[in-house]
């Protein structure tokens, strides 16, 4: 399905929905490169607590971000059942560790509601909108801020 025409409100976008903890999230499929199972990472010294390390993605080195930890929901204890969503942020590939991927939804942009004004900084920083979903509510994540810009120098 492709995005149709003119008014941005009528535009359809495809969202990959997934769960982290007990919550549901989604990201625009355009940033998603692939989805794979979790494998144990090689730890990176002195990295932020939400960067679990790096894994081998067909010969390339892929950093893995624990989304739960990033959203301050507590670190994950992943197993083979967890899923890595490989996303592209600018020129970088980053793998997001999530619990499981649910579905791919076609969503009309007009259906996206603005982020509710809650006290959580996190919500404000990372969530760019919410959607009603089968299981309740789905928060749309803005990928760009997942990895801070000065990542390399974070001590």
């Amino acid at each position: 399905m492709n995005t149709t025409a003119n008014k941005s409100d009528d535009e359809i976008c495809e969202i990959v929905s997934f769960s982290v903890g007990a919550q549901e999230f989604g990201i625009d499929i355009q940033s998603v490169r692939e989805i794979r199972g979790w494998t144990e990472e090689t730890v990176l010294p002195r990295s932020p607590h939400y960067v679990r390390g790096v894994i081998n993605l067909r010969g390339a080195v892929l950093p893995i971000v624990d989304l739960a930890a990033r959203l301050e929901m507590g670190p994950s204890e992943p197993s083979a059942r967890n899923v890595i969503i490989v996303t592209q942020i600018n020129d970088q590939l980053v793998g997001l560790l999530v619990q499981s991927v649910s579905d791919i939804l076609s969503v009309n942009k007009s259906q996206i509601q603005p982020t509710p004004d809650v006290a959580s900084d996190l919500a404000k920083n990372f969530v760019r909108g919410v959607l009603p979903s089968e299981n309740g509510m789905l928060s749309l994540i803005e990928i760009k801020d997942i990895l801070p810009v000065e990542l390399g120098e974070a001590a």
Binding site: T42, P45, V54, V61
Partner: protein
């Protein structure tokens, strides 16, 4: 090939011509030029002009024409190449380069620059009493004899060469014959010995045997052919006679006969016109059709750099001459798309990983060491290594062009600042991976500008200090312990430590009462935020600070440091990895993690006893190694791999030495293995981690980090590794 591609090729060749031009002019400046140099310089400009004509690049043609005319006078000994003249020529070369770039980019060159330059050249020509119209449209009239081919613009240099080659070359009759029989030759009962005998009877011959392909007995096949010969023979009347001994075996061997000193391949004596499709060199190669690919490969081995386009296709093929007209036979070369080379390198990298994984799995499957599978794997590893080395070598280029580019930077910087500067370069033939060379250009340019602008003093100040008015910058490149070391040394005033210190305090980079050693102060200039924007010169106007330079070097996997002597000058030292792709390393376990330590840094490994370890202060320790005490660094602790501290007697010590020669003892849990690994950049996929140089993928498919030993040991033992935080903050 379409017009666009041909045009692109022309511009690539212009680059080469410009490099030749510059290098020749520099030789003239240094008084080291001979007539050959002057000819080469002339030819370079002449070629550019010719090609430009074909593409109707008017401005370029007209400027090049005047330039060439002046050079013609010089090579015809009608005008002396005095120092003044050469300086003018150098500037003209810079202008020519700008015009070429403008033509290539489709922009307009700065008229206010090139028109006056052209007029200046004209002046030299006219003051010589020569009647050369400076209007360049009728270019053909002015250009010396070998005019015809010019119109087509594709003339390879060999044409002009014919005119200037000493006629003696052919008469001297010195040739190199390369002969390598195939197994078919033996099958047909021919005997190389007899051929060699016959050949050596034809003149004064020296015979060299290449035995490098002879395998050990276990791999030896008596029906195969492993030997090759290189025969240098002198005093032969004509080249054709050299073919005679090989009459019966032409199809059963690789044969190449080249003349020495004229640098030409056989049959290139006639004008190579547009119609000449197969370069003469290939003639020899086509002796044994089945061997064509092998021959080219063999030639590629002998060649130095990709230069010639040896396409046997519609396009006029060319035999590009080695630009140095020295007495070497023309190396056969081909020009290859860089993308293809990169793809090849990536594939070879994957091959290495795959081969490692395969070996690992075989071991895990429980096959014994001596089984034929294991032996086959060993051979595979050897082969893979060789392929990798060969492929890496393709990308390695001499730094010569980079160093030469710097001389222009120095000229311009000197002009802009009113200083008198001389650039000396050393180690032009040092080879570095092409990408590294490209990414070094900017940082080097910046450092050189810096050296001229801030390092060197004004001439009056220098003579007051009893130094020569002319300042010298020495730029050198060399291979040292598995890395490339580049140094920029100036004999200027050195770092003004007081000033640097006060700026750093002013910018909040260090505490006002911080105690710093001289060297620590010198290195403050690399801190982000340090750049002295207060000193805006029209040179450093872009405001790029030394911290950006340092970051660029680090991104290449390199290190940079500075040392300075007040009144005497400063030296920047950069150390870079030889290749961005591959590394020999020791695979170790640290804190449960697998790491790789570059072999080049390792001096030896030891199994320490607790009694050898001594504490110093509260946080530091040393280990006794024979007669000295070496600082002990616990790697797991340095990299914060967890709480557990390794008991020295339970672990292994790897003694490492940094580029500067300092030794440290790294304590690791155990050593797993030693192998060659493919380097995967971490910068690109993640960012810079202090103490980590890069990552690699091991045989089991997992990522392992490669240690940056220099960074790891740099910090005060026991303190945390904070990137870009000056040590001083922790000194108290």
């Amino acid at each position: 090939m379409d017009m666009e591609e041909i045009k692109q090729t022309f511009f690539v060749e212009c680059e080469e011509q410009l490099a030749e031009l510059e290098s020749g002019l520099l030789e003239m400046e240094a008084g080291e030029a001979d007539s050959e140099t002057v000819n080469a310089v002339f030819r370079a400009v002449h070629s550019i002009k010719g090609g430009a004509g074909a593409f109707q690049l008017e401005q370029l043609v007209s400027f090049a024409h005047v330039f060439e005319t002046l050079l013609d006078l010089i090579r015809g000994d009608e005008l002396e190449a005095s120092a003044d003249v050469v300086r003018v020529l150098l500037r003209a070369a810079d202008v020519l380069s700008d015009l070429v770039n403008a033509a290539r980019d489709g922009t307009e060159a700065d008229e206010s620059v090139w028109q006056p330059m052209k007029a200046e050249l004209d002046q030299f020509i006219n003051s010589n009493g020569d009647t050369s119209p400076s209007g360049a449209e009728s270019a053909e009239d002015e250009v010396p004899v070998q005019d015809g081919p010019d119109e087509f613009g594709f003339e390879p240099i060999p044409i002009s060469l014919d005119m200037f080659e000493t006629e003696d070359d052919e008469a001297a009759g010195e040739y190199t014959v390369r002969f390598r029989p195939t197994r078919e030759l033996f099958q047909s009962a021919s005997e190389p010995l007899f051929i060699l005998r016959e050949l050596s009877g034809m003149g004064m011959a020296t015979i060299e045997c290449d035995t490098s392909n002879v395998p050990t007995l276990d791999a030896f096949d008596p029906t195969a052919s492993y030997l090759g010969w290189t025969i240098t023979i002198r005093g032969v009347e004509n080249k054709d006679s050299l073919h005679e001994p090989f009459d019966f075996v032409e199809d059963q061997c690789e044969l190449e006969i080249t003349a020495i000193a004229s640098g030409e391949a056989t049959g290139a004596l006639e004008e190579v016109s547009e119609d000449d499709l197969s370069p003469p060199v290939l003639e020899e190669i086509v002796t044994s059709p089945a061997e064509i690919e092998v021959e080219v490969a063999a030639d590629a081995e002998m060649a130095d750099e990709p230069k010639v386009q040896a396409q046997v296709s519609d396009a006029p093929a060319k035999v590009a001459e080695p630009s140095k007209q020295s007495a070497n036979a023309a190396p056969a070369t081909i020009r290859v798309d860089l993308e293809r080379v990169d793809r090849l390198i990536n594939l070879v990298g994957e091959l290495v990983v795959n081969q490692a994984m395969l070996s690992q799995r075989v071991v895990e499957a429980g096959l014994t060491e001596t089984s034929s599978v294991m032996m086959g794997l060993d051979e595979l590893e050897q082969l893979t290594r060789e392929i990798q080395d060969s492929v890496m070598a393709i990308r390695a280029q001499p730094v010569k062009t980079l160093l030469q580019r710097m001389s222009r930077v120095v000229r311009e910087a000197a002009d802009a600042t009113g200083k008198i500067v001389r650039l000396r370069t050393e180690g032009e033939s040092t080879e570095i991976d092409k990408t590294v060379i490209e990414r070094l250009a900017d940082p080097l340019t910046h450092m050189i500008r810096n050296a001229v602008d801030h390092g060197l003093e004004m001439p009056e100040k220098r003579s007051k200090a009893e130094k020569s008015e002319e300042g010298t910058i020495e730029l050198s490149a060399a291979h040292r312990s598995g890395r490339v070391v580049i140094e920029i040394k100036d004999d200027g005033a050195g770092i003004n430590r007081d000033k640097v210190r006060s700026i750093a305090v002013e910018k909040g980079l260090i505490g006002a009462d911080a105690q710093l050693s001289d060297n620590e102060i010198d290195n403050l200039i690399f801190l982000p935020g340090f750049s002295t924007a207060t000193e805006v010169s029209n040179l450093s106007g872009r405001g790029v600070g030394m911290d950006v330079v340092k970051r660029s070097i680090q991104a290449l996997g390199g290190r940079i440091s500075i040392s300075s002597r007040p009144g005497h000058g400063s030296t920047f030292t950069m150390s870079l990895p030889l290749t961005l792709a591959v590394l020999d390393g020791m695979v170790v376990t640290v804190g449960g993690q697998t790491l790789v330590v570059p072999l080049t840094a390792i001096v030896e490994t030891l199994k320490p006893k607790n009694s050898d370890v001594h504490n110093m202060g509260c946080d530091a320790a040393v280990v006794a190694v024979r007669d000295s005490f070496v600082p002990l660094i616990e790697v797991s602790e340095k990299l914060a791999f967890g709480e557990e501290r390794t008991n020295p007697s339970d672990g292994v010590i790897i003694l490492v030495e940094t580029d500067e020669g300092k030794q440290n003892a790294l304590l690791v849990d155990s050593i797993q293995d030693q192998r060659q690994v493919v380097i995967k950049s971490l910068e690109v996929s993640y960012g810079h981690i202090p103490g980590v140089a890069a990552a690699t993928i091991l045989g089991d498919g997992r990522v392992a980090l490669i240690l940056d030993v220099g960074e790891l040991v740099q910090h005060v033992p026991g303190s945390s590794l904070n990137s870009d935080q000056p040590m001083m903050l922790e000194a108290s």
